[in-house]
């Protein structure tokens, strides 16, 4: 079951306590696709500029990512420059240039119209709707959003929510969108706004998943060193959505395993700058860390109880 994913592909300049990279491959849909491809075929919908490097095209193509929907437009590629504090939960945007993404209104390819799985990365609710309108009868639609759209484009976002099955956002954004400070109340309030499942991403503190009749909480995989947190949320979403597309059904068991794979892939991507770690990742590494994650969080039914 293949996934159509719309979002940004960009060149990021990132500074952390551990160093920096300039004009490195980034963007929400880059991270998403490089994680999702381990589980299901992914088709990217995005715009890049004339400066988009051939090596980055190859990086996607060599990993089986479908680039027919990646439009090359006149002008420079989307660029972002960010600087993380020592507390990596805080970052400053030094500059942001939408460039060729600014007025991008994609037309899906004929086969993308028939997509079963759609991921709308963190772009304007109107652009998310524009893409979704072109998909005939999606089985599962997941979307990400952020404080900027909640504050400045709330009406469009709220109109879109009943068409979204799975919404991902962080804890501050969940509070903003719901008007509830308490996260449990916030999660339940957002469920009432449309999505069947709400995933609250809490960075180094893990993920809280709300569904109609269950709550699921997992910590993040504790790492000895975080080099660059950029893309962790989109990588999480990629593995999460990829697993769901591979299974072809949604139930609580599938959702929970999908969250764990999301955390596992998210824990890899932050180990190096840009998409470096996730581009080089192997399925064997994923499986080893998946087992380590289960062991890390297993309070009950594990090998421990037989000791």
């Amino acid at each position: 079951m293949s996934i159509v994913a719309v979002g940004t592909i960009g060149y990021d300049t990132v500074e952390t306590q551990h160093g920096s990279v300039a004009a490195a491959l980034g963007g929400s849909v880059s991270y998403f696709a490089l994680a999702a491809r381990f589980f299901a075929p992914v088709s990217i919908v995005a715009a890049v500029g004339t400066d988009f490097r051939a090596e980055d095209v190859r990086l996607f193509a060599d990993r089986g990512i479908d680039l027919r929907g990646m439009v090359r437009r006149e002008g420079p590629t989307f660029r972002w420059h960010g600087r993380y504090h020592e507390d990596m939960n805080i970052r400053d945007t030094i500059s942001l240039a939408l460039n060729v993404f600014a007025d991008f209104m994609p037309n899906l390819l004929p086969d993308q119209h028939r997509a079963d799985y759609v991921f709308l990365a963190n772009i304007s609710p109107d652009l998310q709707r524009h893409v979704l309108d072109q998909v005939a009868s999606p089985k599962v639609v997941a979307a990400d959003t952020m404080n900027h759209w909640i504050a400045n484009d709330r009406a469009a976002l709220v109109r879109l929510l009943p068409r979204i099955d799975i919404l991902t956002l962080n804890d501050e954004e969940a509070r903003m969108l719901s008007g509830e400070h308490n996260l449990v109340k916030a999660g339940r309030a957002i469920i009432k706004m449309g999505p069947d499942t709400v995933l609250v991403k809490r960075g180094e503190y893990g993920v809280l998943q709300f569904s109609k009749d269950a709550m699921f909480a997992v910590p993040a995989y504790p790492l000895e060193e975080v080099i660059d947190p950029t893309g962790a949320g989109d990588t999480f979403a990629g593995a999460f959505m990829g697993y769901i597309a591979r299974k072809g059904v949604i139930n609580e068991a599938v959702l929970r395993t999908a969250v764990v794979y999301g955390c596992v892939l998210g824990s890899f991507v932050v180990e190096q700058f840009s998409v470096k770690r996730i581009a080089a990742l192997t399925w064997e590494e994923i499986e080893v860390r998946y087992r380590a994650f289960i062991e890390l969080t297993d309070s009950h039914h594990s090998r421990w109880t037989s000791q």
Copy 2:
């Protein structure tokens, strides 16, 4: 297997967004004992003043807590006045008076000298050592500490650590004690300072447990309403230590279940001001929430996987 616990018993004035209480029963060992008593007999070592209320003596006694080591001294009981921010992870101490606790140097009772399980609540490392010196051959010693002692009494604390089996502290304190910003490195560094097990309490984000060859991470139980976070850490420690004393052995399975019971009891105590909720708690309520907690965190082997 009974537990000897030393710490403060006090009268707290607490203000939160949800209201306030004045001169309500509090103190580290009060919370500890009221949680631990569900699992094992507890014997308190503490000092109270002439103003200590008969109803509070009864509250402990009615719940089977051994008060022979609770010394009544001339003067007022320990008092603390705190105010929580809307973000309840932050609180200001408005006033603190040690009162009869100031120069308290307890002498254990003969049977307490033979204690198998010892809990040293968050008091000065010298007082912790003074108590520990009197216990002939404890099986398990757990201790709590805080930033104040790490900053101002570091040498005494570091000398004590090799005699501690289980150390509890929060993430900021783990960083201070170890000099490592990263929590995984911090936990491992503290293990090298003596304790076999280090429990990093992260408030609403749960607990990270480090032992010699394993790491265990659990989220906190998500609550719709937190009325008063005071005592959550000591309540956690009480249930944790109580469960270990009841089992009579330490291994990874016992430690993990102990952490879950700690989180469960900790999730109750914050639902009301002071010790109110934990004093009224029943074993049936604990069991229901224990099962809910397992379901909340169960990523793998649960009823979900059979769906």
